[in-house]
């Protein structure tokens, strides 16, 4: 199964590439192909240092879509609309959204678009044959990259298609110690996305770093 990461040279995208490429064929996408290739070289080095083989390829965001079955949108909420506007070929793809619309005052808060959540907005921007799935929303960027530490978190997965949800839950379960939970239809993604500003507040007000959650 091939996984394309849009925004693969960003913080979360790079970490995802590191964690996923030992198990899956991963195409790291970027607006600039040269940056994607450079990021892949660094990832490959980091993985080899850990004694891990990987299957990583750098390319444009468009190529990451065209050559993958699963496309992960590893981009900040503000970049979603302009990024999706210039890309095509999402037909029949599984599109994973770890995107959280968050704003900051003296604290972080959830600031969803009119569609109710980033996931629902993304669904509205893509062709109807693309199946959107919210996942990986609550894992801090800083944790993805630290390869010698396990990711020991719960991951809520929202999707309207049972088969696709299971595919993405299997993907989640294949990463480190992550554990996937079915969190219902895509319309329920808002209560998943809004956990992230809470975790940022917990980190901020308790002087912690990269706080995650476990369902217990």
């Amino acid at each position: 199964m091939k996984i394309g990461i849009i925004g693969g040279t960003g913080d979360i995208g790079e970490g995802m590439a590191l964690r996923l490429s030992p198990r899956y064929d991963v195409i790291v996408g970027s607006r600039e192909e040269t940056r994607a290739i450079a990021a892949c070289d660094l990832c490959r080095e980091a993985l080899h240092e850990q004694g891990l083989e990987c299957n990583l390829l750098g390319g444009t965001n468009q190529r990451a879509i065209d050559e993958s079955e699963i496309v992960i949108l590893a981009i900040p909420f503000e970049h979603v609309a302009p990024t999706l506007e210039v890309l095509t070929g999402f037909e029949n793809k599984i599109v994973v959204s770890p995107v959280n619309p968050i704003k900051r005052a003296t604290y972080f808060y959830y600031a969803p678009p009119p569609e109710g959540s980033a996931a629902m907005m993304i669904k509205g921007m893509l062709p109807s044959s693309a199946i959107v799935c919210a996942a990986f929303n609550t894992i801090a960027a800083g944790r993805w990259k630290v390869l010698d530490e396990e990711l020991d978190y719960s991951v809520a997965v929202c999707c309207d298609d049972d088969e696709v949800r299971q595919t993405v839950m299997d993907l989640v379960d294949a990463v480190s110690n992550l554990r996937a939970y079915d969190a219902g239809p895509l319309a329920a993604a808002s209560v998943v996305e809004s956990v992230t500003p809470l975790l940022l507040n917990i980190a901020r007000f308790n002087r912690m770093r990269d706080v995650g959650i476990k369902f217990v």
Copy 2:
């Protein structure tokens, strides 16, 4: 320190009385005094069976306010406005809101009032000298009552007053294995309250019961 529980004969209220009364003086409030007294008798029995002494008193909701420093609103969101309208004497009290405005479709979702959260709505309904604090929002009713099981969860606490927040965090930390975290000002309570519909969805779609969270 005396704690009054408004709605103390409800599911969560009764569980809270059981967990708090071995350590604090607790007044269990109800619209009907006789129900509060009956509930206290049952609680006392359950605690004695566990070899625990307690300090429990049943009374009206109004008495639970009048004789306490901390008032816990253990009532469903729908009952908050009609309940608060007939009660007085909140001046200078610490008011704890574990209230979550939730609605249900084929899944649970967060349905806050125009004020942004139940906590902010409650603040707006009380005299300005009352200090509202969101806490205990994410602990399932079913868990409160099972006295021979520890409550091993994280609890996010929102408050605009540092001293009051610390008082409530100490209260949280005194219950079983609960661990309190500062989650920022009261305006940040929406992202705490909205965790509860997520936990209900996780329980529902994964056939689990009484799901809670830990920050890790």
